[in-house]
Amino acid sequence: MPRVTVETVDHVARLAHLSLTGEERTLFARQLDEILAWAESLQAVDVSDVEPLAAAGKGALREDTEASGLPRERALDAAPDPAEGLFRVPRIIGG
């Protein structure tokens, strides 16, 4: 089993867009290591020829018919920084 280190947590936090504090990094490394060590029992289960089960239900598709969605201004009502009918975010390119 791979040991979870602070470096592992840093890598995963980057993937998850989480800026963790130093304290959180060490705490999570220790706790995740414990949790994964305990979940290690799954590795011993014989799963050969078992198809993974992603969800317990199949759901149902509806007809693809035209319907109105949420009006733009209502959707923007909840945004922390709407501008000119759009969601404004910090600069991504250049600057």
Partner: protein
Amino acid sequence: MSGLVGLGAQALRQRVAGRDVSSEEVARAHLDAIEAVEPSLDAFLAVLADRALERARALDRRLGKGEKAPPLAGVPIAVKDVLHIEGLPTTCGSRILEGYRPPFTATAVARLEAAGAIVVGKTNMDEFAMGSSTENSAFKPTRNPWDVGRVPGGSSGGSAAAVAARLAPLALGSDTGGSIRQPAAFCGVVGLKPTYGRVSRYGLVAFGSSLDQVGPFGRTVGDVALAAALLFGADPLDATSVDGPAGDPGSALGRGASALRIGVPRGFLEKGVEAQTLARFDEAVAALGKAGATIVDVDLPHLVHAVATYYLVATAEASSNLARYDGVRYGRRAGGPSDLRSMYGRTRDEGFGPEVKRRIILGTFALSSGYYDAYYLRAQKVRALIRRDFDRAFAACDAVATPTTPAPAFRLGEKTSDPLQMYLEDIFTVPANLAGLPALSLPCGFASGLPVGLQLLARPFDEETLLRAGAAYQARTGHHEATPPLCAA
């Protein structure tokens, strides 16, 4: 409290329908009860007094004009703050949704309101429904009405506590790994997690999309069946919702438990169940036997892996679902950062509490390159084996019985520092979510003065069997009539 508080949904509806009392009087009595008890309970994140009274008066006007009383006419309900009501804040127990007011209403809430129910408030919960104690709420912990030094369970702890303390006869919760049934057990009320797909999740904040289900709390199986009948059914706004095989939960109630075969997985109960809890469970199974059910042994060999499987699957799904909280489209945005990546990272670090971050990290890890096969994919395979266990068990029985939890309500703070101990609380509840089965928890007595829950699980879309067995049990026992020390009635 004019004798209205403490009545069940069916009794209240009957009195409102008979114009014996007004819907406004019923709402007012429950709002007064909330005002009196809430300071010691902390079950609500928002009390919707004005809205409730306004809606109650509108219902009274319609009834005054001779309109037929709908099935929940004037019945107060509490709604877990994971379900949207248009224009009112949804916090989901989190700081990251600060200021968010959804522009639409959850189908489950809309259906109960259309049936005449009056929402009295939004209830407290573990942040994003992640937790088994309601201590992970970003705002406050909720107390257990049976002992205010103990947790009400979670994540729907506010809804369960409100129903137990007689602040509403019915409540809505959500259940991803036990979040309806475990608090129902801890608070001594009835909680139903319907079959995966039975109830629309439109307007439910997503946690684990292959596991989440909306369901009702009540004090009697009859009241829960009444709410279930209104909640069940496909919704074009949720592609995972389906119309199950016809079933009228209400009509099942009178049919008793005779001819039902109830399976007990003895091997699975052997370890880790507190002695008094196990004794109450055995008595409950014996009572079902006296009610006419046949008790059989069943074997569910892969259930020992259910908690590990669940915590890999659920956190993987959560890490994906919670990616949407990025400070762009709704909720809170961290001030300061001038570049996008830092804005995302800071927003999420400031907005999420420790348990949510822990689960995002675990789930992202389980899905990440190099670990996906060993963790997420393997967990999905073990999940298939767990469902196969149930398929086999249901060849020999109509319902499986277990305790809902290994022990009664624990003390506030007792398990907060050890997440693994908290996760192990879910051993009996997560299997139903993994296999998509309906499951019911109902009060079956007390262990050292604290309520114990009996859990029944059935085949997909066979809630009828659960409600039949539950009603037969409650017809022979009085545990559901016990009132907690902290109670409005």
